[in-house]
Amino acid sequence: MQAAIEIDGLTKDYYLGFWRKRPRRALDGLTLTIEEGEVFGFLGPNGAGKTTTLKLLMGLIFPTSGGARILGRAIEDVSMHHDVGYLPEQPYFYDYLTARELLDYFARFFRLSAEERRRRIGSVLDLVGLSSAADVQLRRYSKGMLQRIGMAQAILHQPRVVFLDEPMSGLDPVGRREARDIILDLKRQGRTVFFSTHILPDAEMLCDRVAVLVGGKLQGVGSPEQIVSIEVESLEVLFELPAGSALPPALEDAATQTGARYRIQVPEAQLYDALEGLRAARARIISVSQLKPTLEDFFLRLVGGEQRKHAVEISGGGL
């Protein structure tokens, strides 16, 4: 099967300063291959180089070195865009147009008949939940609505590869769920989705594989489970104590009380000891759950180099 996206040593330097220009490397030798039909998550904290990568792939900026191919065609080849959709980060569109006019404008670049354009526009507006606001000028749109119209224009021409830069940003919970449904729907249709995010649960839920980028460098590629499982190291126990019963002395320091409930965090190895203590105190266990790290923790550690070893393992040692 042909690779959907082949990125080979993609590097981008920005030059800062007015008189004495100093280079700052935003992306450092990124090499990645994404197969057709994959939903691929591009993870990283702000400033990691995610948007730079997407802008390079879309030809909005030019690489300092390296290159990439999409569906076998070099990114410099404009015809490649016939099969590619793109949602920019924090999208902004012509505010003097209505949503329907904007989509019609964009659809005209694909030589679709008027009837076909009308049909597709109606269908994507429906899909992103903007049918009722289709004839409202975009200047009256909220940030979330702009994000939705951004998604609509990215998939309007039924591209084989869709690039989404932070597709969930600015969306409320309902909007995020709908965006996730759209991505899953694209996957069902066999399309390739490459999306950047700094929200780990989104990646966990949607992606076949994820890549982690920090400071312009690829830290690892793997399935979301691999990325997250590295970090599961403690558990949280939620419990209540009967009247007259006291906390076991060993847990006194670790416990926090909220109303009648207590909460403790224990390392996985000490879970049974803690549960024994709670049984002795006749505590009623409400839940025991894995404590997954926040993405922030995850990235902070990566930046600190602590996870470097794990990252190498995820990618099978092939960074």
Partner: protein
């Protein structure tokens, strides 16, 4: 592709209310010309044509510069260009599309203002004479001038802010209007180096003086066809070169 961008640029301009204000003021000025004409006994026709064509030229210039300098800059600054360039659209096609769109806007506005002038003339003279045809030629020259100014504004818009682009475009327009004087200055000076520089500038700067046929139209003089052909060819060549330069700059620049 190019035409799709052009039509959207036209639509943007049409939906911009500033434009209607400009047309309103231009028509107001033509109306004022009628009033001034009425108190200029015997030379109403001359005054109306002179003031009317000057109004068309000035308001056209204001539009060409102020919309032109924002043509590309606004799209980059507001990032509306991102989604657009993700279509199968070359950057040079986008540029030419934007240019053609503004040119279409200017042509429609100039046509409207010319219609206003024609109404004013008819109001005063109750008839049109054959020599009035030179008014149309003068309007055509104004359009050629606007096309050239728009190309320059677009060129600056590719790498500079609207404020600076306005200064550059206006500066070039003024220098181009007085390019003949610059050469004459070089000819009377005794320094051969200065003479060479002014001659070089004369050929480099766009010669806007050639496009001024307002006086000829006002006096009803016939404008020779050869001048029409010369001006058309000059504008076409100069515009092509400016657009090629704009495309070369814009096609290689990183969008922020």
């Amino acid at each position: 592709m190019t035409w799709v961008v052009a039509l959207n640029t036209f639509r943007e301009a049409v939906r911009d209310r500033v434009l209607y204000n400009l047309i309103f003021f231009a028509l107001l000025m033509i109306a004022a010309a009628v009033l001034v004409g009425q108190i200029s006994i015997g030379i109403e026709h001359l005054v109306i044509v002179n003031l009317g064509l000057t109004a068309i030229s000035i308001f056209g210039l204001v539009m060409a510069i102020f919309i032109g300098v924002g043509l590309v800059y606004k799209e980059i600054d507001k990032r509306t260009l991102y989604a657009l360039l993700a279509r199968p659209l070359r950057r040079r096609q986008f540029l030419v599309g934007k240019y053609a769109g503004l040119l279409l806007t200017l042509a429609v506005n100039t046509a409207l203002m010319t219609l206003g002038l024609a109404v004013a003339l008819f109001y005063v003279s109750r008839t049109f004479v054959r020599s009035d045809l030179s008014i149309l030629v003068a309007v055509y020259f104004i359009l050629l001038k606007l096309a050239l100014v728009t190309a320059l504004a677009l060129l600056f818009s590719c790498f500079s802010t609207p404020m600076l682009s306005t200064v550059f475009t206006l500066g070039l327009y003024l220098a181009g209007t007085f390019s003949t004087d610059i050469r004459s200055f070089g000819e009377v000076t005794e320094s051969p180096a200065l003479g060479a520089v002014t001659k070089f500038l004369y050929y480099l700067l766009p010669n806007f003086n050639n496009f001024n046929a307002i006086a000829a139209a006002a006096y009803g003089r016939q404008i020779p066809l050869i001048l029409v052909a010369q001006n058309t060819a000059y504008a076409a060549i100069y515009i092509t070169l400016v657009l090629l330069a704009a495309a070369a700059i814009f096609s290689n620049r990183d969008l922020k």
